[in-house]
């Protein structure tokens, strides 16, 4: 018993920062409460987010607002089929100083705290792979020279589920690097009416930073202090193991549908996201409910289904639901004869 749970006042402070940020985001993006919570959790967990949805739902506006509210450096990259890796990471430029020519590294748009990778699936695999090192290791290597990315580094990528011509679906390795894959849904009619009343020409309200760099660092420290109990960690482990078809924990209904299960990185992501969710709920520890709530956005895009299962209309989200149903919270259940 060497560690101590976060003090209630620290938890309250961290939650207050999160609620402040959520309130400000709510003012920008109306009627997307659940998605905004996932964005905040991904930010606190220092994970990257893949937003998938039709055009015009406010994905880009959300990322821009996040950059402004956090007083962080924000860059937007519009991915196209002809964009090159150097266009993102930056490259060496020949410069002349005092009659002497030298190669100078010009950082690309990825050298920012919040990067919006718009329509990421339109870039070629070569360019997409340039994002891999940056997303996972938070550094860029150009001509053998490694350049660290600024902290925090947060990639929000978007992709359009339609207009598939000229696109390159993200490979599994790159999908695995996104903490969440979130589907952005349409807003209901009453929210649309509010948008029409309050926004002229769709312009969002003027935003001012609500969290400075120090507060953001404090927030991250609080998130890191959220305790993950052994039983919950065991539950996460069993849940991820159950996503593999060859595992004895895998339910029979899902066994035939799964081609590849989730990686250990998924278990880490689930634990980190659970910490952020616990803080958002005002708790110093992760609970089973946090894992259940985050299992679909964390695991669904990491599970590869069999071709026949996809043709049968089975979705990864449904498979994750099967895993949740089949995995007991506590490895050894209570007898049925207990009220």
């Amino acid at each position: 018993m060497s560690t101590t749970l976060l003090a209630p006042d620290r938890v309250a402070r961290g939650r207050d920062l999160l609620l402040r940020l959520r309130g400000a985001l709510n003012a920008v993006l109306l009627g997307q409460q659940a998605m905004l919570d996932l964005v905040l959790i991904a930010l606190c967990a220092r994970g990257h987010l893949l937003l998938e949805g039709l055009p015009g739902l406010g994905k880009t506006e959300l990322v821009k607002a996040l950059g402004r509210l956090l007083a962080l450096r924000f860059r937007r990259v519009q991915f196209t089929p002809d964009i090159l890796p150097a266009d993102i990471t930056g490259g060496l430029v020949l410069e002349e100083h005092g009659g002497q020519r030298t190669f100078t590294f010009k950082p690309g748009p990825i050298f920012a705290n919040v990067v919006l990778a718009d329509e990421i699936n339109r870039a070629s695999p070569k360019t997409q792979s340039a994002m891999l090192e940056a997303m996972q290791e938070r550094r860029v290597t150009v001509f053998g020279e490694t350049h660290p990315l600024p902290e925090p580094f947060f990639v929000l990528a978007t992709q359009n589920p339609i207009e598939l011509e000229g696109t390159y679906p993200l490979p599994e390795a790159q999908l695995d690097r996104f903490l969440f894959k979130v589907e952005v849904r349409n807003v209901p009619a009453d929210v649309l009416a509010t948008i029409l009343r309050e926004r002229r020409r769709g312009q969002p309200p003027e935003l001012a930073p609500v969290i400075d760099a120090g507060e953001l660092a404090e927030l991250f420290a609080v998130v890191d202090g959220v305790y993950l109990p052994e039983a919950v960690a065991d539950y996460i482990g069993r849940l991820v193991e159950a996503s593999h078809a060859d595992s004895p924990l895998c339910p029979e209904a899902a066994r035939a549908a799964i081609a590849f299960g989730a990686s250990p990185r998924a278990a880490i992501a689930l634990a980190e996201a659970g910490r952020a969710a616990a803080l958002l709920a005002g708790r110093p520890n992760v609970d089973f409910a946090d894992v259940d709530a985050l299992a679909v956005p964390v695991l669904a895009h990491r599970i590869v289904l069999q071709h026949a299962a996809r043709l049968d209309g089975l979705t990864p989200a449904r498979v994750v639901g099967m895993l949740l149903d089949a995995t007991a919270k506590v490895a050894k259940p209570l007898p049925k004869e207990i009220a």
């Binding site: 018993m1 560690t3 749970l5 209630p8 207009e163 039983a231 609970d287 209570l334 007898p335 004869e337």
Partner: protein, 441 residues
């Protein structure tokens, strides 16, 4: 927790035990075996579910982490209790204490209802087996045969009564004894074969006595015939004429055989014999002979074995005394059988080479029938496979079907998958699901 584990194990094994016992008893009952009534010793079987309960307690013991996790969930602490058990609670101590105090009110209680529900159905089934009516004791195979033998004996006695040949009083006694045996057999008691055989032998003995009496009557008739051929001669034993002595002997033998009732009313045989009334004696001899012949034939038919010699002697004796007697009237011989008559209505036809002496005939067993003609010969006996001419299934979509790939297309894809592929390539979906106007890769 331990009580719940015990109840779980006890109810599961107890229900299984009750169900197994009910099924076993039901199987016994279906097989006609009576189910033993419940006995206090059966309570010893409770040891099995009790032992299972203790095993369940031992196996169901949860590790401390799991117990804490369950308690945490029951108290709604959202993992705080779990975390506090692994890390110092710090400032959460007071809040944790306030919630844990409530744990005393939320200690899990044993749910008796599921365990009781699990036990109810097997218990009802178990008790229901005892409510079934007891099976009738099935007679042993041996006793069924004895009962049949008793029934046969009873029929034989009834037949003898109808014929009126044997002594009615003795038949009545036999019938009474047979009825006693029959009632014992019907009650399920064991009836010894010796008793049945003894009654059967008594019936046969009566028949044999009657046959002897009839044979002696036949001899007496023969003697009377001889005496009638030689009138005035004496037997050498006294002054009594032979006819009178033969008549007296005949009357004695007829009385022993019970034939005197067959004499016509008003006919006094003793007086006729003393007076030497030849006509009356002839009438008496004719009546007695006819009655003796009928009784002998009835006895032969009842016994199944025909003593042709005795019957022939009677016929001859009767024929001498009474021309035309001794031969059955047309139609009377139906079903009697015999050497010179076939069974039932069939009459054996003898050719001109037969001299009429049936005593020279012998019983001969005929050879068994043959399927093959006599001039046929079996060359070889061996096993061969049946002749088969399989036809290839060449219908479209089948394995052997030939075509432009249509068969493989139909075979490889299930209908639901085929519909999905069809929908993907159809123009309707392209128009509806691609507002950007782009084409698919």
């Amino acid at each position: 927790m331990q009580a719940a584990s015990f109840v779980t194990g006890f109810s599961a094994v107890g229900a299984g035990l009750l169900l197994a016992a009910a099924c076993a008893f039901l199987a016994l009952r279906v097989c006609g075996i009576a189910v033993p009534p419940p006995a206090p010793a059966w309570a010893a079987a409770l040891a099995i579910p009790i032992a299972a309960g203790f095993v369940a307690v031992r196996r169901g013991r949860l590790p401390a982490t799991a117990e804490l996790a369950h308690l945490d969930r029951r108290l709604g602490l959202e993992g705080l209790l779990l975390s506090a058990s692994e890390a110092r609670p710090g400032g959460w101590d007071a809040a944790l204490h306030a919630r844990v105090v409530e744990a005393a009110h939320r200690i899990p209680r044993v749910r008796w209802a599921p365990a009781a529900r699990r036990l109810v159905l097997p218990a009802v089934l178990f008790c229901g087996v005892f409510l079934l009516p007891a099976p009738e004791p099935a007679p042993a195979p041996g006793s069924r045969v004895v009962a049949q033998a008793i029934e046969d004996l009873r029929d034989a006695i009834d037949l003898a009564r109808q014929e009126g040949v044997l002594d009615e009083r003795r038949l009545e006694d036999l019938a009474q004894r047979v009825e006693e045996l029959r009632e014992r057999a019907a009650a399920g008691e064991e009836v010894a074969w010796a008793d049945v055989d003894a009654l059967g032998e008594r019936l046969e003995e009566q028949r044999a006595l009657q046959r002897d009496a009839l044979a002696r009557t036949a001899h007496a008739l023969q003697a009377l015939r001889e005496a009638a051929r030689t009138p005035g001669e004496t037997s050498g034993a006294g002054d009594v004429p032979d006819a009178e002595a033969a008549m007296q002997n005949l009357l004695q033998q007829a009385a022993a055989a019970g034939l005197l009732d067959a004499l016509p009313a008003g006919l006094d045989p003793s007086r006729a014999a003393k007076a030497g009334d030849a006509e009356t004696m002839e009438q008496v001899a004719e009546a007695l002979g006819k009655a003796a012949l009928e009784q002998a034939e009835a006895l032969a038919a009842a016994a199944g074995d025909v003593d042709e010699r005795a019957l022939q002697a009677l016929r001859e004796a009767l024929g001498e005394a009474m021309p035309g007697a001794g031969k059955p009237a047309p139609g009377e011989d139906v079903g009697r059988g015999g050497v010179d008559r076939g069974p039932g209505h069939a009459r054996l036809a003898f050719d001109e080479h037969f001299d009429g002496d049936t005593s020279t005939l012998q019983t001969q067993k005929l050879p068994p029938g043959r399927v093959l003609a006599e001039d046929w010969e079996i060359m070889q006996v061996r096993r061969v496979d049946p002749t088969a001419a399989p036809q290839r299934n060449e219908a479209p979509g089948s394995t052997a079907g030939a075509g432009s790939g249509e068969a493989a297309w139909r075979r490889r894809l299930s209908p639901s998958h085929r519909a999905v592929v069809h929908e993907f390539f159809s123009s309707r979906r392209a128009a509806a699901g691609n507002p950007g106007g782009g084409t698919r890769r």
